[in-house]
């Protein structure tokens, strides 16, 4: 992944990580095409099935994000540590796909006992991002993201996209 389009894709993935960490969700969606789809998946060795734990198109994501303040939630800070592993250009450079490895930590705020826990960082999730992009004039947009989790014990879970 040495060329300019690959570099643009890689930059975009990292920019998304920065915006998600900053909880600038609307700015994150601005990196996505209007037909963007997002899902969180994992495989359960208990029921021996792949599972889709969250799935949204763009309107669904917008609603989810707009509703966040109306919900009681764990406001712990998620920190996504991403390393882009592979980028492939497709369809003559109009499309691209990428695989990245990520580790997501959560620094606790109000999730349990804030006096004791706030400020402590815990491992939350590890997994892979499988992304698809559309490129126009060398500028990529997310068209699809599958967050594939290795971790399946999320305990109280989360209201945030990963």
């Amino acid at each position: 992944m040495s060329g300019a389009p690959e570099a643009a894709v890689r930059d975009l993935i990292y920019r998304a990580a920065l915006l998600l960490d900053a909880e600038r969700f609307k700015d994150w969606l601005a990196l996505c095409a209007e037909d963007f789809t997002y899902r969180i998946q994992t495989y359960s060795p208990e029921i021996r099935k792949q599972m889709t734990w969250l799935q949204h198109d763009m309107p669904g994501l917008r609603t989810m994000i707009e509703m966040l303040p109306r919900h009681n939630t764990d406001h712990g800070q998620l920190s996504r540590h991403v390393s882009v592993y592979a980028i492939a250009l497709e369809d003559g450079g109009k499309e691209a796909s990428a695989t990245s490895s990520f580790i997501c930590h959560r620094t606790m705020l109000d999730g349990i006992n804030a006096h004791l826990d706030a400020g402590e960082t815990q491992l939350f999730l590890v997994g892979k991002y499988h992304d698809r992009f559309r490129l126009a004039d060398g500028r990529p947009l997310f068209r699809d993201r599958t967050v594939f989790l290795d971790t399946r014990r999320l305990d109280k879970g989360s209201h945030y996209p990963i």
């Binding site: 969180i40 208990e46 029921i47 889709t52 734990w53 969250l54 006992n113 014990r153 999320l154 989360s158």
Partner: protein
């Protein structure tokens, strides 16, 4: 609908003492007197669809394996080797049809010294038995401890650690009566599983599942349910042995034929219906429109519980139907769903204020509203059974003859 004569602590305003949620000694007693004595819902039969499929778990700390025998019958055994006590099958699920490194296909093999058991729990091989045990022990005398086990109520596998447990039918009574059509009309199928460790007492989760007053916590429910006609028509019904139900029976006939954009449901269930069965000491069946959610619990300590969440659809679902059920289910009940996260935050907060060593406090169980949806009768009924089983008053659990606070 039963009359509510239940009270403890204070007749006008029943309460429990918070130490029933925080005391180690009470917790250990609950394991012995409740969790090792009753029937517990475990896995769904669709998790072991084929002969020789198995699932492993623990009940009150004891390792258990549930296996569909070569004869297609589902059985439960202690997953503990009679030789030197090793855990036999280590994976959460799989098929005995595949050979293990130390054993043969079709067998459960203890990896340690390769004692092998067939899918009916009989010991079929003790390596070098004759040389090591001469006539003192023969494999025919050895078998895995079989546990009472029945498949019932929507295809769940019910197990008890007590060989002398009452029949499952007696334990459940008619608690599933009003959900029978949904559960028994056709085969069901699991599509969701996840688990959560929560720093709280397991009973606080069952409390949450036993009252709807906390719909104030859920923006989703405030908007979609509490404001709706019929919400307050739902009533609790209590059953022997600590169980109760609540549901939208009255709504049923009005809404049943309605077509719309979320047409999926369960047999006999109105399109946007909601029915719930809370079973003592910690299982909940919850049908909300298109999916059945079943919660089971594994208490780890007074301040820690593992909750397992299952999502169930119909076996005959098309791919599209299944995807629809999954989306409906996970939007509110998945690990990233709107409601479940809130519910778990609720009991996490209780777990903080009632963690072991905190001062005894009164926890009010006093809402009475003609057994309707915001009545706390579900909880009161549960703790009456709890009191009977552990032989303690929930309001004065240490027999101090005085009330907390």
């Amino acid at each position: 609908m039963t009359a509510d004569l239940t009270s403890y602590g204070n007749e006008a305003l029943p309460f429990v003492d918070s130490r029933i949620y925080s005391e180690s000694s009470i917790f250990e007693e609950e394991l012995q007197k409740i969790w090792k004595k009753v029937w517990l819902a475990t896995v769904h039969e669709s998790e072991l669809a084929q002969p020789l499929d198995y699932r492993t778990l623990t009940l009150a700390r004891e390792p258990v394996i549930i296996v569909r025998g070569s004869d297609n019958q589902i059985r439960a055994f202690l997953n503990v080797c009679p030789h030197r006590g090793n855990l036999i099958v280590r994976k959460p699920a799989g098929s005995l049809g595949v050979a293990e490194p130390s054993g043969n296909a079709n067998h459960m093999t203890c990896m340690f010294h390769a004692w092998q058991y067939d899918s009916l729990g009989r010991c079929v091989d003790i390596p070098r038995q004759k040389q090591g045990y001469q006539d003192r022990l023969d494999k025919s005398q050895v078998r895995l401890t079989a546990l009472p086990c029945e498949v019932a109520h929507g295809g769940f596998v019910w197990v008890s650690l007590d060989p002398a447990v009452m029949p499952l039918a007696d334990f459940i009574g008619d608690a599933f009566g009003f959900m029978r059509e949904e559960l028994e009309s056709e085969p069901l199928d699991i599509f969701h599983y996840h688990k959560a460790f929560i720093r709280s007492n397991y009973k606080l989760w069952h409390d949450t599942n036993s009252e709807f007053y906390h719909d104030y916590m859920h923006y989703f429910n405030r908007a979609t349910s509490m404001m709706q006609k019929g919400y307050f028509d739902r009533h609790y019904t209590t059953f022997a042995n600590g169980h109760c139900t609540v549901g939208s029976m009255e709504v049923k006939y009005d809404a049943y034929q309605g077509a719309g954009d979320r047409p999926l449901s369960f047999p006999g269930m109105p399109r946007n219906g909601w029915k719930m069965v809370d079973l003592f000491p910690g299982t909940t069946y919850n049908i909300r429109g298109s999916s059945l959610r079943v919660d089971t619990m594994t208490p780890i300590g007074p301040d820690l519980v593992m909750i397992e969440f299952r999502g169930i659809g119909l076996k005959r679902d098309t791919e599209e139907e299944r995807a629809r059920r999954i989306a409906d289910h996970n939007t509110i009940w998945g690990p990233f769903g709107r409601n479940l996260h809130e519910d778990l935050l609720g009991i996490t907060g209780q777990g903080v204020s009632m963690r072991p060593g905190t001062a005894p406090r009164r926890v009010l169980h006093g809402r009475r509203e003609n057994l309707s949806i915001h009545d706390e009768i579900g909880m009161r009924h549960y703790y009456s059974e709890w009191a009977r089983r552990v032989g303690r008053s929930p309001a004065d659990p240490l027999g101090e003859g005085m009330a907390a606070e």
